[in-house]
Symmetry: C2
Amino acid sequence: MADAHLSEFELIERFFSGRDRGPGIVLGVGDDCTLLSPRPGHQLAVSVDTMVCGTHFFPDQPAAAVGHKALAAALSDLAAMGAEPLGTLLAITLPGTDEAWLMAFAEGMGALAERLRAPLIGGDTTRGPLAVSVTVIGEVPAGLALRRSGAEPGNLVVVSGSLGGAFAGLQAERERREAGGKPPAVQDASHRRFFWPEPRIALGRALRGHTRTAIDISDGLLADLAHICTASGCGATLEAESIPRDPLLAGWADAAALSAALSGGDDYELLFAWPARQRTELRVLASGLQLPLTVIGEFRREPGIRVLDATGQPVTLAEPGFDHFRAD
Amino acid sequence: MADAHLSEFELIERFFSGRDRGPGIVLGVGDDCTLLSPRPGHQLAVSVDTMVCGTHFFPDQPAAAVGHKALAAALSDLAAMGAEPLGTLLAITLPGTDEAWLMAFAEGMGALAERLRAPLIGGDTTRGPLAVSVTVIGEVPAGLALRRSGAEPGNLVVVSGSLGGAFAGLQAERERREAGGKPPAVQDASHRRFFWPEPRIALGRALRGHTRTAIDISDGLLADLAHICTASGCGATLEAESIPRDPLLAGWADAAALSAALSGGDDYELLFAWPARQRTELRVLASGLQLPLTVIGEFRREPGIRVLDATGQPVTLAEPGFDHFRAD
């Protein structure tokens, strides 16, 4: 990274200012703090997510995709709480000043920030190994936030979209790299699921009042379902056949595809509890959002998670979900 | 760093949970987001600060000091806005799992968090080169936040405490390392100023209603005063003799000591505008806080910053303040 004459302040000024306006934002970039004025009757939801070069993204990954995913992963946490974004703070550590990289990064992050109304309202720029830490702030009507607790025996286990696509996309990318193939087009489907995930903000908002319990699938279906079960003091049974597998898993052996859907991680779909008697409302919601919402099992009183095959027999489970200290 | 069997979740659980309670905190560590409920009539102040190993702290620096300073630097931004802390989010990137290091880090950060009521309420743990990114959230009565703008010609330029001590402490530490000397005791004065800075939360709160304009001195007096002047559309004149030099600069040549006080950075004192007719109130405030508050000059209509010596002649200025992309 080349131009050492561009200072930290100029960087912030050039790439990240002027996008800091929105409802609830009193003061954006350029002071000691950002100032927010949440709506009366609302609570604030705050989350932070870090992506480190070499751990969470490839060193030569397009900067726009890095910017997109760093924000998407953080916004996914707001979605899982049913919160609407107010704004984003970006702490970025750079080995130097590469204007082209920063421009593309800012565009990738900025496009998502604009589309989901999560404007960049503050941050910090430091020198060091490339890493991006994103803090998102959202608001949710008091008492309506979706938590990990609250799932009750008899509630349906529901998941949005499809699972395993991010894992399949990452596998495809690794194989491409080993084979020395050309990078795929940005809009390539296998590329999109892993590199350009979509936080389910609209779904999270729509779930408010219908359920108290949701999580986003970042660690993998089984791991994140276990978080809900632990917080809610219950267990769950899943039907393997009903778990929506991403089309990218079409050519995979059945066991490998199931394992990817159960444990792949990084899909950023929402997993939530839903009252068993409201299946019609669930279909109406899916239709309104134009997003598949699939019942994949139910919560049970007995602790633990069981996955059953089409004959009702327990499936031997794959390893637990993604953990930064165990896998990459 | 050794124990690879401690998972990310266990780390968070073990070191950073159970300290997440306080007024305004609806939901702390352990869900997708933290939930906050700010007091009615208040705005939220948010800031993020990153410290990278090798850039902002020595690789072998005691972990407790790293934890303290990472939080102190972030809280200093709340102080500069006149905000009171609500809570802290910690995004930490670790090369591995060193329990002793993490324990000391958590204790250093936790002690300051407890003393200044900024409990740890969320975060993220990732694997990669050692770095710490701290997001702090505070609240301030609507309309009373201290900004960089608002200083008016005729206002006094006031600074808290003394300046240049952090720079002198860093110099002493570098010389000690070059000479191969023993590490100083934690409570050593030269060590304390650079490694254990004190955010001026109580001062920031006390300034509300008396002035609209403050900043914390992280980049250096001249650089941070320039930020106020730019935002306020004015200039300033400083009297070199009145700038409170840290006792650590006692043995230094006059020009070097002045340069350290003007440009040293990392002191985390507050710099603020004060009405010229309220010198008595300033003394009362200093006495109440048991903290020196020194008038070092005044804001002027003419742009630019001039530093005058005891005879009223302009002092030739040293280089501008600390910038991560120029200095370390």
